[in-house]
Symmetry: none
Subunit: 419 residues, 2 copies
């Protein structure tokens, strides 16, 4: 069964809101093993919605619509789908009672246009809305199934999980399973180069690469009759990726970010961490603190943007700053040495660089960043060359800093084991 | 001229990423006065992209495509548009050189597939990419204009602003002028309520509100034959907004962010600043350091996530932490007092709160955040109650902290003038 998604709403066409419903519905369809080839956004306009329905009905069996079920005269999804399927609108008594109860519970008097929400195409299946007043609707014709959902994400999601998933599971037999192998520090083209043989022969599972800031994710997706069989198809491919990319992989778990991977590693090794930042200006700390519960591991951070702060707070020597400059491997080394002396943590990360747009020279161009890591006295400094805007350079620096810390900690742990 | 947007990418169809490009492009087109009736998402698939192009070319003059310009064999937007327009692909020497330079600067050897990005449809206009390697492309046919942009949002946005806006402005005879009045600390519904009379009667200029994290922007847009006439229409409305929102407005300049507004104010007053952060974990510093050239004003930052760090680095008293807790107005006050003692800056901002998802109690729930500001010894503490995810609470805290600092500095300056 193939599906497509039609999101109805002039606010989407004007860019006033981001279409998170399409992403949510797409993810849910993929998880159910339902292939979806198109997403369309169309305004609250009868003629254009009729055109979109006609096109979608030709190419897909299942059509999921979101939005346009509200009480105002703008909202015409239900009316237009009913017209397209040649169905009359009739009052659904159960919905009418629920709308009444919803308003009574909130001490509000419903306005006349609220009863419009209790009108449904005859013979349809009504989906209850436990987060709002507009019921959802399933209309079936000989060729198509139309699922109409309310636009507000919290209403749409609850209804999808409660009512649409069971309905769709009854229609399909295939299951999709996918796993993401997350790498950091490699270019997307380089990752693809090393996967060319696997990508060329792919049918099931399929392999796809996605570039994120400083990271490349490789997604392996299989289709089968049961979740177990699909997982069985994915497993050997993930194993092969692990052997090809080794320590450039920081996780194979969809829910694990780079900062979470580092936090988990630190936690399992019982190590604490602190940060000293110049050009990233607190972003490494802020990213680590994305991880809930990090307070056990993360002790303190310094934003030493000025030379004075580098000297005073981290003990960087005046001579080092004068001789090599604030952006140098020597300064990065002294920053991370001073950091551990100050915070008494096990691991320290320091970053100093030129994020631009000004401040670059031919010798030290914008994008030159030194990252250092100190694990119980053992210091590693990495020289990086990033390109792009100030924001991009800073984000790339954060990813590189977290990845360097991860590598240094892994190295430390492997030596500890050999001891 | 009518336009439509086609976003190409299997990751969009699978819901792996949210389509922020469509929202951005839609907003930009609306701001340029270009009507857009449809948005389509299609996978990296030649046949289906050809279908989408055929449909779009029939109903819209301008077609903006995003995605599928990368170096991998998945990426086929350029190839497919060239095929649809019956144009050959040729090497663009300038792009080739830029790609080469991009890799040389990073010390990486380009792989063979990178040169694919220098191939363009013959006779097209090439748009430079200052944030990546894939150039953008404009292909014109008798009936249509196709604008191809790279998928990564930071590349797409920069290219749109630098190259596409001037190109599109050249196509239309009408001129659009818009100005944004930026407020912070008000709810969108409250802003709209206070503008209801203006919004209801609007035709030219139009007024629209946009909710950002912690901020609400009001955009006033006018259409006219000349820039001067359009500006003349916008001016009295902006004046009216200024009188209604007063000091809740931090800027009426599109290019000025909240951090830039604060930095400009500090610079003009000759004041330096430092930050001490707990729940925001460095994000206030990192946001301030978004402003290029901030190093003259921003001196140092502390991320005092643990109680120990609050005591050691900022001199918060043990008794205060024990009696009132780390999340209290008393702790916020001591943090910002200790901060100025330590950094000798003129202005200090401190933040302490519960970002969640854990750590909340009935007395101190998740979302409770204390923000303090110290201007040369005069301390102001603000208690805030935010809602939502950890990320949302932290971002709202950052906006509130910058806004509080702005108000305290303004207050200080107004008193200085009276002296």
């Amino acid at each position: 069964m193939t599906a497509e998604i039609i999101c109805v709403g002039t606010e989407l066409l004007l860019g006033n809101i981001v279409n998170t419903n399409a992403a949510y519905l797409a993810q849910q369809l993929a998880a159910l093993g339902i292939t979806s080839y198109y997403q369309t956004v169309v305004g609250d306009n009868r003629e254009r919605l009729l055109d979109a329905l006609e096109l979608a009905a030709k190419r897909s069996e299942l059509i999921i619509l979101s939005g346009g079920l509200g009480p105002t005269r703008d909202d015409l999804t239900k009316e237009t789908v009913a017209e397209f399927c040649s169905k009359k609108l009739v009052t659904d008594e159960k919905s009418k009672k629920q709308i009444e109860a919803y308003f009574v519970a909130r001490g509000i008097k419903p306005t006349k246009n609220n009863w419009k929400q209790a009108m449904v195409p005859e013979g349809c299946k009504v989906l209850e809305n436990h987060n709002g007043t507009a019921p959802g609707i399933v209309v079936e014709t000989k060729k198509n199934k139309f699922v109409l959902l309310p636009g507000p994400p919290e209403e749409l999601r609850l209804m999808f999980e409660e009512s649409v998933v069971p309905y769709l599971k009854g229609l399909s037999s295939d299951v999709i399973f996918s796993q993401t192998v997350k790498t950091c520090g490699l270019a997307e083209s380089a990752v693809e180069d090393r996967l060319r043989d696997l990508i060329e022969g792919q049918t099931n599972p399929t392999i796809a690469t996605y570039a994120k800031t400083g990271e490349v994710h490789v997604r392996v997706t299989a289709k089968a009759e049961t979740p177990k069989e699909a997982q069985k198809l994915v497993k050997p491919v993930v194993k092969e990726l692990k052997s090809r990319f080794g320590n450039d992989i920081y996780s194979t778990d969809d829910g694990v970010t780079l900062e979470k991977a580092l936090a988990d590693l630190l936690e399992s090794a019982g190590l604490t961490i602190s940060c000293a930042e110049s050009c990233t200006g607190g972003l490494v700390s802020a990213t680590l603190i994305n991880v809930p519960g990090i307070s056990e591991l993360y002790k303190a951070g310094f934003v030493t943007y000025s030379n004075k702060a580098k000297r005073k707070l981290l003990g960087v020597k005046k001579g080092t700053l004068q001789k090599y400059g604030a952006v140098s491997s020597q300064t990065a080394e002294e920053m991370v040495r001073g950091l551990l002396a100050e915070t008494k943590t096990d691991v320290g990360i320091a970053v100093t660089g030129i994020a631009g747009p000004d401040g670059g020279t031919s010798e030290k161009p914008v994008g030159l960043v030194y990252i250092s890591c100190n694990v119980k006295g053992k210091i590693t400094v990495k020289e990086c060359h990033f390109q792009g805007t100030r924001e991009k350079i800073r984000n790339a620096s954060v990813a590189a800093a977290l990845m360097l810390a991860r590598r240094c900690v892994l190295e430390y742990l492997s030596k500890e084991i050999l001891k």
